[in-house]
């Protein structure tokens, strides 16, 4: 106790409360971010790992190299393809599911909600493995179901054209429940009186959705879009498990490329520049969405 009293003279209690968390976050988050930034201007590689004195400052070389690296452009293209299709699809489906489940006509709401939500909490690695077999061209249940409705079998993960759509389908299935819950919360915050007033004035359900629900949900939609996008830009596990980035690098994502460069080839400087480009893209997209929101208000 005496020790604690003594400490009290020098530091305030709030500092003691903040110190553990802030020290941890500063040391193991902020310093690494800064370090990554600096490392991205060096040629840190496997020799640097053994002897740090071999690491040299190379200015913007990594970024220039990145700019000329066709594999990086491929990864960039694939990631944008994924984010720009899976993102809106996810937000749209989760909004649709939320609106349906919010309907007064629906019985057993919590059961349906739980059903749609279940994929969200489950382990992505396990789920990717399950879907790898679901997508099996000969024995997979997806092609079997498609066969029943008359669609010819698709080599989902083996065909360069279909591999990314396959990952998109799985990612949407896995994640839409999360946004759905946020949308349901948003829907419940819309005053019922608005709908009643609109009904009295003769608005049909589509008009009510368009003129009341959507505008009232705009802040929620923005939030959901941003977190979905940030998460989707970090695509890694699905291609790692299901396609290893193939076929023909069509599912190679930015993070998968960074992982290979950094942790398999130990091109640490180069991989750091990839990480920073990813950060920059996410940052830019967040700003664009926030701006978009402000303009529409």
């Amino acid at each position: 106790m005496k020790g604690i009293r003594l400490i009290h003279k020098w530091v305030s209690p709030y500092q003691l409360f903040l110190a553990p968390a802030l020290t941890a976050i500063f040391t193991f988050f902020f310093i690494p971010v800064l370090a990554a930034f600096l490392i991205s201007f060096t040629d840190f590689d496997i020799y640097g790992l053994a002897d740090i004195s071999t690491v040299r400052f190379v200015a913007l070389d990594n970024y220039v190299k990145l700019f000329r690296d066709p594999l990086f452009w491929q990864a960039l293209k694939n990631t944008f393809y994924f984010v720009l299709i899976a993102g809106p699809l996810n937000v749209g489906i989760s909004l649709g599911a939320a609106v349906l489940l919010n309907s007064r006509l629906v019985k057993l709401k919590s059961l349906f909600r739980l059903n749609y939500f279940l994929p969200v909490i489950t382990t992505l690695v396990a789920i990717s493995i399950v879907w790898r077999f679901i997508y099996h061209p000969r024995f997979g249940i997806l092609n079997y179901i498609l066969h029943i409705i008359g669609v010819r079998p698709i080599d989902w993960l083996g065909d360069p054209v279909w591999a990314m759509p396959a990952i998109i389908i799985m990612a949407v299935w896995k994640n839409f429940g999360y946004n759905m819950i946020i949308f349901i919360a948003g829907l419940q915050n819309i005053p019922q009186s608005l709908y009643e007033a609109a009904s009295i004035e003769g608005a049909n359900s589509l008009q009510r959705f368009w003129y009341i629900t959507l505008p009232m949900l705009a802040p929620t939609t923005l939030f959901v879009s941003i977190i979905t996008m940030i998460g989707f830009f970090q695509l890694f596990t699905e291609p790692y498990i299901m396609t290893q980035g193939g076929p023909l690098n069509r599912t190679l994502s930015i993070v998968l490329y960074m992982y290979r460069e950094g942790f398999q080839w130990w091109h640490i400087g180069y991989a750091s520049s990839i990480a920073f480009v990813l950060f920059f893209i996410i940052f830019l997209f967040t700003l664009i969405q926030l701006k978009f929101q402000k303009d529409s208000e």
Partner: protein, 271 residues
């Protein structure tokens, strides 16, 4: 109205079944003998029912060890980060100090930085500390997190100041107030955050893949990914491994569903 309701329910049931189908197939295939999940047309029930895949995983493939690693890491990391985050969240909610709002804003805005940016330097750092391939390599980066602090702060803001002042008049120290008043009042949010953290550590893949290099240290996702490399043609075995990985989180979620949902909804609230 009646017709509309039937259509709506029919739609929900069909999409619900489709959503559930992957889980159904995963569980059923895990009880199939070798080869039964690789037939056309696919089977949706095992015949005969067998536990042979599970036995193989635990007796020969050392998945029990990975299960223990996952459980131990998730519990430890959750415990420590709850302690750190709750103290910081409380301080941000209830103490007045210079630069508080700027500091909090800085923390919040840094949430757009993807974790991957930190991974390479963090790896080098932990390597120089000699903790690569130990439990510490997983625990250290998760000691505290910004989202957790945010969640606790939002909740603690709602605690009346009069309670804290009354305790102070009664002679309680700052730590006693935190421990005896704040923590019990924050129980719901602590459960929520604990659940989120537990699931986060349990489900995490990329970081454990990087820092756990020895198969004895693997967590379930890493062990599973590794197993997949050797058993691409054994769906029954891989499904059993997936069930073992997924089942604990599903059970935990079902038990604490209410807390999880409130956590998500809170994360959607703005200042």
């Amino acid at each position: 109205m009646k017709f509309k309701s039937i259509i709506l329910h029919l739609f929900l049931i069909i999409t619900g079944l489709l959503t559930f189908l992957p889980f159904w197939w995963m569980v059923m295939a895990s009880f199939m003998p070798e080869g039964q999940a690789s037939v056309y047309p696919p089977r949706f029930f095992p015949n005969p029912f067998t536990l042979v895949q599970y036995k193989l995983l635990f007796q020969r493939l050392n998945l029990g060890r990975a299960f223990f690693n996952s459980l131990f890491l998730a519990v430890t990391a959750t415990g420590i980060s709850l302690f750190f985050n709750s103290m910081a969240g409380y301080a941000f909610a209830k103490y007045r100090f210079k630069g508080k709002h700027q500091l909090f804003k800085l923390l919040l805005s840094s949430m757009v930085i993807p974790a991957q940016v930190t991974m390479l330097p963090l790896f080098l750092m932990l390597k120089s500390m000699g903790v690569i391939n130990t439990y510490l390599a997983i625990i250290i980066p998760g000691l505290a997190n910004i989202f957790g602090i945010f969640l606790i702060r939002q909740y603690a803001l709602g605690i009346p100041n009069s309670l804290i002042e009354a305790a102070r008049i009664d002679g309680a120290s700052d730590f006693q107030i935190y421990y005896k008043i704040i923590l019990p009042l924050c129980k719901p949010i602590l459960i929520t955050l604990g659940l989120l953290t537990f699931l986060g550590v349990w489900n995490d893949f990329m970081w454990p893949l990087i820092v756990l290099t020895d198969s004895n240290m693997y967590t379930l996702p890493v062990a599973l990914a590794n197993l997949m490399g050797e058993h691409t043609r054994d769906p029954e075995l891989m499904m059993a491994g997936s069930v073992i990985t997924v089942l604990p989180v599903i059970l935990l979620f079902l038990a604490l569903q209410k807390f999880y949902m409130s956590g998500i909804m809170m994360s959607g609230l703005k200042e």
